[in-house]
C-alpha cells in the first residue's frame, strides 16, 4: 500500500484541466478576469474589493464576498490558483456545483470575513486589509484534514505520532513565516470555518438538498451546462454518467485522436509524442525563450529588478577611519613627482635603479623581476620592481598589493600614479597597525608586467619570466592607481573587469565606492560612463558596456591579471577637471588599505557574479542568469524537438494534426483493460541514421582548432591578410562542404534534421554551462547564433537568399570585422590583442568563438545549402 510517486505527465495534466468542473472553472475564470482588470488604471479594484476591517459597514458588506476573488499581483494570483484549484475541484465533485456556488458565494466567504473583521477590528483594534482566495484554500484544507483524520488519524514523523488534523495549522504557520505579507489571522479564520465544516457543525449552512434538486431538475442544468456536477450523486453519478470500467464503452469516433488518448493516458508515450500540438509548439517556444531572454536583460536596470549595493563583509568598515595623508606629505609627493617626471624618457632598468633607491630610503625591501613574452611574433619585455613593507608583528601570512604601472593601458606615463605609490610607501611605513604585508609594485607596463609578476608570485610563470626573489604571504587584494596627468581631477573611474570575465568580489568595489563618495566626496563611475544621470538608458548602457568587456574577456587594466588567482583587484583612474588633488586620491587609497587591513578572512562575503549598472546598483547572478540560460535553452529545445521529429515518419507537413479522415491501416493497442485503435503508422519505429550528421558536427568542431591555431600563431604583420583570406574562405567553406555532402552522400531530410539537432544540442549545452562562468559571453554568442535555430533547407529560394545574407552578416568573421569598424580599431590590432591575450593572459574567448560558435555557424550554413534527398517511396 506504499503510495508510489506519481510521474508528471503532461497528458494527465491536460486531461485534469479539461475535466475541471463548472464552478471551479468559473471561479478560476473570475479570479483571472479580476486580476487582469486590476491592472487598469481607472479604478482601484483592490481598494474596492479588499476586506478592510474599518471599512466594513452595511453598504460595504459586499467586501466580505469580493475579497477572495481579488488578488494583488501575478504571484499572489498564480499561487493561490494553484493551491485552490484541486481543493475546490474536490469540494465541488463531492457536493455538486450548485451547493458549491451557494456556499462559496455565501457563508464560506462571509463568515470567515466577519470573524476576521470582528477579531481584527474589535479585539486587536487594527486595520489590516486582506484579500485573495487563500482563505478558501485554508478552509478547504481544514475540511480535507478532518476527512483525512478519520481515515488516517496520524502519521509518523520519526517516533512521534502526529495527528493529521493538525497539518493545516502547520501550513498556516509555515506560510506566514515563509511568505511575506500573509495574514496569519485571516488564514486562521478560514481554518476555523473549515474545521467547523469538516466536523459537521456547520452543515446546516448548506442549502437544503431538495431545493437544489428542484432547481436542478427544473432548469435541466445537468443537460445544459457542460462540466456541471449534479447535486444528486446517487441517481446520476457526479457527472451524469455512471462510472464504468468497460472499455468498450469508450466511444471511438474515427479521427478523434484526442478521445483515444484520453482512454490511454499514460499507457503509450508514443501517442503523445505524435500530438500535433506538441510537434508544433517547440519552434515557437524556443523563439519565446529568446524573446523572454532578451526582455529579461532589458528589464534588469529597472528599480524592481536591480538592487542597491551594500557592504556584506562587516570587517571592512569602509570610511570609518580618519585619514592622515595630507600636510607635509604633499611636499614629499611633489618631490617624488618631479623625480618621476624627470625619468619619463629613461629606460626601464635605469628607472628601476632610481626607484629601488627611493624604496630603500623608505626602509623597504626591494626586489626586481625581468620578464619576456613572445606573442604574434613580437616580444614584450620589461622589468618589474616591487617593495615589501613587512607588517610589524606580522608573519608574512597575508599581503595586499598597491600597483602603479609605469605606463598605463593607453601607454601614457603614469606619473602621478607612480609618485603617489612612492609617497604612500613612505607614509605607510610610519604606521604600525598593518596586519598584512603591503607590496608596492611598479610594473613596466600595464599588460604583460602585472601578469608576469602575479604568475611568478604563484610560481606558475612561463619560460622567460623570472621567479620572484622575495615573496610574502597570500595576496588578499590589489589596488591599482592609474593617474597619468598632473592636474586636479573631478571623479574616480573604477575598472573592475578581470580576464575571461571574472570579477573581483563586489565588496572591494563597494568599499572603494563608499570611501570615495561617502568619506571623500569624490564621485565614482564605471565603464567609462563619464556622465551618469541614473536614467534607465544610462543604467542599461553601463550594464551593456560591462557585459561587452566581460564577454571579450580581455584585461582592462593591470588589476585584471590578479583576478584569475582569486585575488580581488581593481584599478582606480581619476578623471575630469575638478578640485580633487592627488592627496585626496592618496586618502582614498589609504582608507581602502585600512579597510582591507581589517579583513580577517579572504574577501568572500559578497558577490563574485554580478552586473553593475551604476556604481551603487547591481544585479546578482540569480536575477540575471535566466536571461542567458533562456537563450541557451532555445537551442536545446530545438535540438530535442528535431531529435523527436527525426524519429517520426514524415507526413505531409500541412496535414499534421488535421482531423480529416485518413484511411490507413489501424492497429489495436491493449493495456490492462484499456483498448485503443490508432493508425499503424504512428507506431512504426524509425531508424535514425546518425553517422553522417554526427560526423559532420564533430568534424566541424575539430576544424575550429585550425583558425584558433592560425590566429594565435601568425606574426602580427600577416594577421590582417590572413584574416581577410580566412573570411573569404569562410563564406565558401560551408557551400563546398554542403555540395560535397549532397553529391557524395545525398543526405535525407532526417539526416539534415539530425545534423541540426546535434549542432544545436552542443551549442545549447555549452552555452548554458558557459553562462554560469562568463554570462556575457554566453549571452552574446547565444544571441548571435540564435538564427541557427530556424535554419533548414528551405524550399523557397527567396527565404534561402535572405537567410544567406543574414548568415553572412552573422558569421564570426563578419561580426569581428563589424566590431573593429564600430570601435574604430584595425583588424590587425584586435587580432594582435587577441593573440596577446591567448599567449600572456590565458584568455579563452577565442576557444569559444572558433570551437563553439564558428562550427555551429558552419553547420548552419551547410544546412542552408543542403538539398534533402526526396524519398523514393513517394507520399506517405
Amino acid at each position: 500500500m506504499a503510495p508510489s510517486l506519481p510521474q508528471f505527465s503532461a497528458a494527465r495534466m491536460r486531461s485534469y484541466v479539461f475535466r475541471l468542473p463548472l464552478f471551479t472553472r468559473s471561479i478560476i475564470g473570475v479570479i483571472l478576469v479580476l486580476w487582469v482588470a486590476s491592472y487598469q488604471g481607472v479604478f482601484d479594484l483592490v481598494q474596492w474589493g479588499a476586506l478592510i476591517p474599518k471599512e466594513i459597514g452595511i453598504s460595504t458588506m459586499y467586501r466580505t464576498n469580493t475579497f477572495p476573488l481579488i488578488h494583488r499581483g501575478v504571484f499572489h494570483t498564480f499561487f493561490n490558483l494553484i493551491a485552490l484549484a484541486p481543493l475546490l475541484e474536490r469540494f465541488e465533485a463531492e457536493y455538486g456545483t450548485l451547493t458549491s456556488l451557494a456556499l462559496f458565494v455565501g457563508p464560506l466567504s462571509t463568515i470567515p470575513a466577519l470573524l476576521y473583521t470582528f477579531i481584527e477590528r474589535g479585539i486587536l483594534g487594527m486595520n489590516t486589509a486582506v484579500l485573495g482566495s487563500s482563505i478558501w484554500v485554508f478552509t478547504l484544507l481544514a475540511t480535507e484534514a478532518c476527512k483525512t483524520y478519520k481515515t488516517n488519524p496520524s502519521f509518523q514523523l520519526g517516533t512521534v505520532q502526529v495527528p493529521t488534523w493538525i497539518t493545516p495549522l502547520v501550513m498556516v504557520v509555515f506560510v506566514s513565516v515563509l511568505v511575506p505579507n500573509t495574514s496569519f489571522l485571516g488564514h486562521l479564520c478560514g481554518l476555523a470555518f473549515g474545521y467547523g465544516w469538516g466536523l459537521g457543525y456547520l452543515k446546516f449552512l448548506a442549502p437544503p438538498e431538495w431545493a437544489l434538486r428542484w432547481i436542478e431538475g427544473k432548469l435541466n442544468l445537468l443537460g445544459r451546462l457542460p462540466h456541471y456536477v449534479s447535486v444528486d450523486q446517487k441517481t446520476y453519478g457526479r457527472f451524469g454518467v455512471l462510472p464504468t470500467t468497460n472499455a468498450s464503452n469508450i466511444s471511438l469516433p474515427t479521427g478523434d485522436r484526442m478521445q483515444v488518448e484520453m482512454g490511454l493516458v499514460g499507457t503509450s508515450g508514443s501517442l503523445l509524442r505524435r500530438d500535433p500540438r506538441l510537434l508544433k509548439v517547440p519552434p515557437y517556444l524556443s523563439f519565446l525563450c529568446i524573446v523572454i531572454g532578451v526582455a529579461w536583460l532589458l528589464v534588469l536596470p529597472l528599480d524592481n529588478y536591480s538592487r542597491k549595493t551594500y557592504i556584506s563583509e562587516n570587517a571592512l568598515l569602509p570610511g570609518q577611519v580618519h585619514t592622515y595623508f595630507a600636510g607635509s606629505d604633499q611636499n614629499v609627493f611633489r618631490g617624488y613627482k618631479r623625480e618621476v617626471d624627470g625619468m619619463g624618457e629613461w629606460g626601464n632598468v635605469e628607472v628601476n635603479d632610481k626607484l629601488e633607491e627611493f624604496f630603500k630610503a623608505s626602509g623597504l625591501k626591494v626586489a626586481r623581476q625581468r620578464y619576456e613574452y613572445t606573442s604574434a611574433g613580437e616580444t614584450y619585455s620589461g622589468e618589474n620592481i616591487y617593495a615589501i613593507l613587512h607588517a610589524p608583528r606580522g608573519d608574512a601570512e597575508e599581503a595586499i598589493v598597491l600597483v602603479g604601472a609605469w605606463t598605463n593601458v593607453e601607454g601614457e606615463l603614469n606619473k602621478s600614479g607612480v609618485a603617489l605609490v612612492l609617497t604612500l610607501a613612505r607614509y605607510f611605513k610610519r604606521w604600525s597597525l598593518w596586519s598584512k604585508d603591503i607590496i608596492f609594485l611598479i610594473t613596466a607596463d600595464s599588460r604583460a608586467g602585472p601578469q608576469a609578476w602575479v604568475d611568478a608570485y604563484h610560481d606558475t610563470h612561463q619560460k622567460g619570466v623570472q621567479s620572484l626573489p622575495v615573496k610574502s604571504g597570500a595576496l588578499q587584494g590589489a589596488v591599482v592607481i592609474d593617474y597619468p596627468f598632473d592636474h586636479r581631477f573631478e571623479s574616480l573611474h573604477v575598472v573592475y573587469d578581470g580576464i575571461n570575465g571574472q570579477l573581483p568580489n563586489l565588496d572591494l568595489l563597494n568599499t572603494v565606492v563608499s570611501i570615495a563618495s561617502g568619506q571623500m566626496g569624490i564621485g565614482a563611475s564605471l565603464q567609462k560612463m563619464w556622465q551618469h544621470t541614473d536614467t534607465y538608458k544610462d543604467r542599461l548602457t553601463t550594464m551593456l558596456r560591462g557585459m561587452m568587456n566581460q564577454g571579450l574577456g580581455h584585461a582592462s587594466g593591470p588589476h585584471s591579471s590578479f583576478i584569475p588567482y582569486h585575488v580581488d583587484a581593481i584599478t582606480l583612474q581619476p578623471y575630469g577637471e575638478g578640485w580633487q588633488d592627488e592627496m585626496a586620491m592618496g586618502r582614498v587609497i589609504e582608507s581602502t588599505f585600512r579597510s582591507l587591513n581589517n579583513l580577517l578572512e579572504h574577501l568572500h562575503q559578497s558577490f563574485f557574479f554580478y552586473l553593475l549598472m551604476q556604481s551603487s546598483r547591481f544585479v546578482s547572478i540569480g536575477t540575471y542568469l535566466p536571461s542567458a540560460m533562456l537563450v541557451a535553452v532555445n537551442f536545446t529545445i530545438m535540438a530535442i524537438f528535431l531529435w523527436v521529429k527525426s524519429g517520426s515518419t514524415p507526413s505531409p507537413d500541412s496535414k499534421v494534426g488535421s482531423t480529416s479522415e485518413k484511411s490507413g491501416p489501424l492497429a489495436i493497442i491493449k493495456k490492462e483493460d484499456a483498448v485503443a485503435i490508432v493508425p499503424e503508422e504512428l507506431l512504426e519505429a524509425r531508424e535514425r541514421d546518425f553517422f553522417l550528421p554526427l560526423g559532420v558536427v564533430v568534424g566541424s568542431h575539430f576544424l575550429g582548432v585550425l583558425p584558433l591555431y592560425v590566429f594565435n600563431h601568425t606574426p602580427h604583420a600577416l594577421l590582417p591578410i590572413i584574416f581577410y583570406l580566412f573570411s573569404a574562405l569562410n563564406l565558401l567553406l560551408p557551400l563546398l562542404i554542403s555540395s560535397t555532402l549532397t553529391h557524395s552522400f545525398a543526405p535525407t531530410l532526417q539526416q539534415y534534421q539530425l545534423l541540426k539537432s546535434f549542432s544545436l544540442l552542443f551549442l545549447g549545452m555549452f552555452l548554458s554551462a558557459l553562462a554560469t562562468l562568463n554570462f556575457s559571453l554566453a549571452f552574446l554568442i547565444g544571441l548571435l547564433a540564435a538564427p541557427l535555430t530556424y535554419i533548414q533547407p528551405f524550399k523557397s529560394t527567396v527565404i534561402t537568399a535572405l537567410y544567406v545574407v543574414l548568415m553572412a552578416l552573422l558569421a564570426p568573421t563578419s561580426v569581428l570585422f563589424a566590431g573593429t569598424w564600430y570601435w574604430n580599431l584595425g583588424v590587425g590590432a584586435v587580432l594582435r590583442e587577441a593573440a596577446f591575450g591567448w599567449d600572456v593572459w590565458g584568455m579563452n574567448t577565442q576557444v569559444v568563438v572558433w570551437c563553439v560558435w564558428w562550427p555551429g555557424w558552419v553547420v548552419g550554413v551547410i544546412q542552408l545549402f543542403g538539398r534533402p534527398r526526396v524519398r523514393e517511396k513517394g507520399k506517405a
Binding site: 474536490r90 483525512t148 481515515t151 611636499n331 614629499v332 618631490g335 608573519d395 604571504g473 578572512e601
Partner: protein, 592 residues
C-alpha cells in the same frame, strides 16, 4: 571551616619559616640568580633588547619541593608531569635576517610564530608519555593563559633527528626520556601571557631589568620572543646536579614608533619645518621636497622613552656581580648614563656594560649622532624562506629556499616540517635543487605519514649545503576537504601551517608560518536560505499537501464522521475519566 583556615595559616607560616631558613645560609654564598639586559642597535631606527634571567636550583632541593629562585608553580607542574627538560616559546612577528643579521642567542631561544613547546618526559611507554604530555600541556595552558591544551595528538610529533637534549641526563633516565614537540602557529601572544611569565621571575617585574617589561611596549615590537627553558646541568663526574631555568625576552623595537607618546600615537605628517629635505635638488622649494634618507644618522633615544618608564634599580636577589645592563654600540658613540652607574667598556670596542646603584632609577641617553662606525652585524648561519606555490582549491606546493651565506663552511642541518593532516603531502614530489640543479643532497630522511584526524605529517630531512649555495626544496600536496564542523569560525581566513624548524647543531632557525586556504563551503546566507526553504518546502508542503489531497478510501466509508461521533467520543472519554475518578475516590474512601 575554621579548621581549614588554621591549616592554611599554619602552612603559610611554615613555608615562610622554610623560606627564611633556606635564605639565611645562602645569603652569604654567591647568588644563583642573575639577570642581564643587552641592547643592540640593528639599524639606525631599530633596537634589539634581549632580557635574560637565569637561576639554578640543586636537583635535590627541587625534588624536596624546596623552591627558592625556581618558581614553585612551574616546578610542581614539571614534577607532576615527570618532565625532565622543558622548552617553551612564545613568539610574534618575523626576524628579518637579511637586515638584522644573526638571531639573538643564535636562534636557540626562539620559537616559531605562536606558541611552541617541546619537552623530554620520563615515562615507561609511549602511552604513558602521551598521558604525561597531556598533563603537562594542560597545566602549562592554565599557568600561561595560552591555549596550550589545544596541542593534541594531531599537533604533537616526536622528532627523531631534530632536537637534542640541552641538559645533562644520566644514562639511566635517558633511555626512558620521550621527546614530544607541539606547536600552535595561530596562537596570538599577548599581555595575558606576559603577566604569568613575569610572575615566575624572582623580582616579579618590580625591580631590576624586568621592571622595564610592559605589555604595551613589548607587544608593539616588530618582533618579540619569550622563552622558558628548564634543564638539568650536572658537573661531569659528580652526582651533584643543578636544575637551571632560563627565561629570556627578546624584542626588536622601532625607535620612532616607541618614542611616540602613548596618548598621541598617530604618525601624523610632520610639520613643514621639521621636514628634512634634500636641498641639493634644483626643484626644492617651500612646497616641494625630496625626502632625505634618514639612515645616515643614528637616532637619538632615551631608555625611559623607549620602555615607557626608567629602570627601577637592581633586583636585590641578583648579586653575583654581573652587570645588569649592557649596550652594544661602538665606543665612539656617546652614551650618557644616570648618576650612580658605573660604566665598563669591553675591549672588543663595541660593548659597554653598566653596574647600577641598587635603589636609584637608571637611565641611558644616546644623543643623535652622525657616526660612520657601526657595530658589526653577525652573519646568520643560514637564510631560510618558505612560501606556497600554485593556486586553487585542490592542490598546491611548498617551496623552501635555504641559502648558506658563508663562503667557506658547508652546513649540515635537519629540516623539520610538521604539517596538519588535511595537507596531504606527496613525498615522491619532494625535490631538492642546489643552485638550480637537481641533485641528491638529501642525506637522511624520516617520514611519518599523517592519519586523517589523528596525527599530522612529520618530515625530517638532513641536508648538507655546501658553502655559498642555495638549496630549493619543493614538494606538492593535496588539500583535503574537511567536515563542515571542523572549520573554525573564520573558515575563509585559511589554516595556519606551523613554521619549519631548521636545526643546526644546538641552535634552531624557524621559517615564517604559512596560511593555507582550504576549499570552504559557503557558510553564509544563500546556503542557509536555500537549504532551509528547500527542506521546509520539500518536507512540509509536499508531504502535507499530498497527504491531504490523496485519500485511499472507499466511497461509502466517507462522511460517517459527524457530530454524533465526536459527541460520543467526548462522552466516552468523559465517562472513562469520571469512572476512574469515582473509582479512585471510592478507593480513597476505603483507605480512610
Amino acid at each position: 571551616m575554621w579548621g581549614n583556615k588554621a591549616l592554611v595559616a599554619m602552612r603559610l607560616i611554615l613555608s615562610l619559616l622554610l623560606l627564611l631558613s633556606a635564605a639565611i645560609p645562602h645569603a652569604t654564598a654567591s647568588s644563583d640568580y642573575h639577570e642581564q639586559l643587552n641592547l643592540r642597535s640593528l639599524h639606525p631606527s631599530l633596537l634589539l633588547a634581549s632580557f635574560n634571567f637565569q637561576s639554578n636550583t640543586s636537583l635535590t632541593s627541587f625534588e624536596q619541593q624546596n623552591f627558592r629562585y625556581f618558581p614553585r608553580s612551574l616546578g610542581q607542574i614539571l614534577q607532576h608531569a615527570n618532565t625532565r627538560e622543558l622548552h617553551l616559546r612564545f613568539s610574534l612577528g618575523r626576524w628579518d635576517a637579511e637586515s638584522w643579521g644573526a638571531r639573538p642567542w643564535g636562534g636557540a631561544r626562539e620559537g616559531g610564530t605562536g606558541v611552541e613547546l617541546w619537552a623530554w618526559v620520563e615515562a615507561e611507554s609511549d602511552e604513558e608519555a602521551d598521558g604525561r604530555w597531556l598533563t603537562l600541556t594542560n597545566a602549562l595552558s592554565g599557568l600561561f593563559c595560552a591555549s596550550l591544551n589545544f596541542i593534541d595528538s594531531t599537533r604533537t610529533i616526536r622528532p627523531v633527528m631534530s632536537f637534542e637534549p640541552a641538559g645533562n641526563h644520566s644514562s639511566s633516565t635517558l633511555d626512558n626520556l620521550h621527546l614530544l614537540h607541539g606547536t600552535l602557529p595561530r596562537e596570538v601572544v599577548c599581555t595575558e601571557n606576559l603577566t604569568p611569565f613575569l610572575k615566575l621571575l624572582p623580582c616579579k617585574g618590580k625591580a631590576g631589568i624586568s621592571s622595564l617589561l610592559d605589555g604595551h611596549k613589548l607587544f608593539d615590537a616588530s618582533w618579540q620572543s619569550m622563552s622558558i627553558d628548564v634543564k638539568p646541568i650536572c658537573e661531569p663526574g659528580s652526582s651533584d646536579c643543578q636544575l637551571q631555568i632560563t627565561q629570556t625576552i627578546d624584542m626588536v623595537l622601532d625607535l620612532q614608533r616607541s618614542k611616540r607618546p602613548r596618548d598621541n600615537p598617530i604618525p601624523r605628517p610632520v610639520s613643514y619645518e621639521e621636514l628634512r629635505c634634500d636641498l641639493s635638488k634644483d626643484y626644492h622649494s617651500h612646497d616641494t621636497c625630496f625626502p632625505l634618507d634618514a639612515a645616515a644618522q643614528e637616532e637619538e633615544w632615551i631608555l625611559s622613552h623607549i620602555f615607557g618608564h626608567p629602570l627601577k634599580g637592581t633586583c636585590p636577589l641578583a648579586d653575583d656581580g654581573i652587570d645588569p645592563v649592557c649596550i652594544n654600540v661602538p665606543h665612539a658613540r656617546h652614551v650618557y648614563a644616570s648618576e650612580g652607574a658605573h660604566e665598563h667598556k669591553d675591549e672588543s670596542g663595541y660593548k659597554r656594560c653598566f653596574a647600577l646603584s641598587p635603589d636609584k632609577d637608571f637611565e641611558i641617553i644616546l644623543p643623535q649622532q652622525e657616526i660612520s662606525e657601526k657595530s658589526p652585524l653577525e652573519q646568520p648561519l643560514l637564510y631560510a624562506e618558505r612560501s606556497f606555490i600554485g593556486y586553487g582549491q585542490e592542490s598546491g606546493g611548498v617551496q623552501a629556499i635555504l641559502t648558506n651565506p658563508s663562503s667557506t663552511n658547508a652546513i649540515e642541518f635537519v629540516y623539520l616540517e610538521t604539517l596538519p593532516w588535511f595537507m596531504k603531502l606527496y613525498l615522491h614530489t619532494l625535490k631538492a635543487k642546489i643552485n638550480g640543479v637537481e641533485e641528491d643532497i638529501i642525506k637522511e630522511m624520516y617520514y611519518r605519514p599523517a592519519l586523517d584526524r589523528k596525527r599530522g605529517t612529520q618530515l625530517e630531512i638532513r641536508i648538507l649545503i655546501p658553502a655559498n649555495s642555495t638549496v630549493v626544496l619543493t614538494y606538492d600536496f593535496e588539500k583535503a576537504i574537511l567536515r563542515y564542523t571542523e572549520y573554525p569560525p573564520d573558515a575563509n581566513r585559511g589554516f595556519d601551517i606551523a613554521p619549519a624548524v631548521i636545526t643546526i647543531g644546538d641552535i634552531a632557525i624557524r621559517t615564517t608560518s604559512l596560511l593555507l586556504p582550504l576549499p570552504t563551503p559557503d557558510f553564509s546566507m544563500p546556503y542557509n536560505v536555500i537549504i532551509l526553504t528547500s527542506t521546509v518546502m520539500a518536507l512540509s508542503f509536499g508531504f502535507i499537501y499530498n497527504l491531504l489531497i490523496r485519500r485511499f478510501v472507499a466511497i461509502d466509508e466517507a462522511d460517517q464522521w459527524d457530530v454524533r461521533a465526536v459527541r460520543l467520543k467526548v462522552l466516552a472519554v468523559a465517562q472513562k475519566f469520571m469512572s476512574r475518578f469515582l473509582e479512585k475516590r471510592s478507593k480513597d474512601g476505603k483507605d480512610d
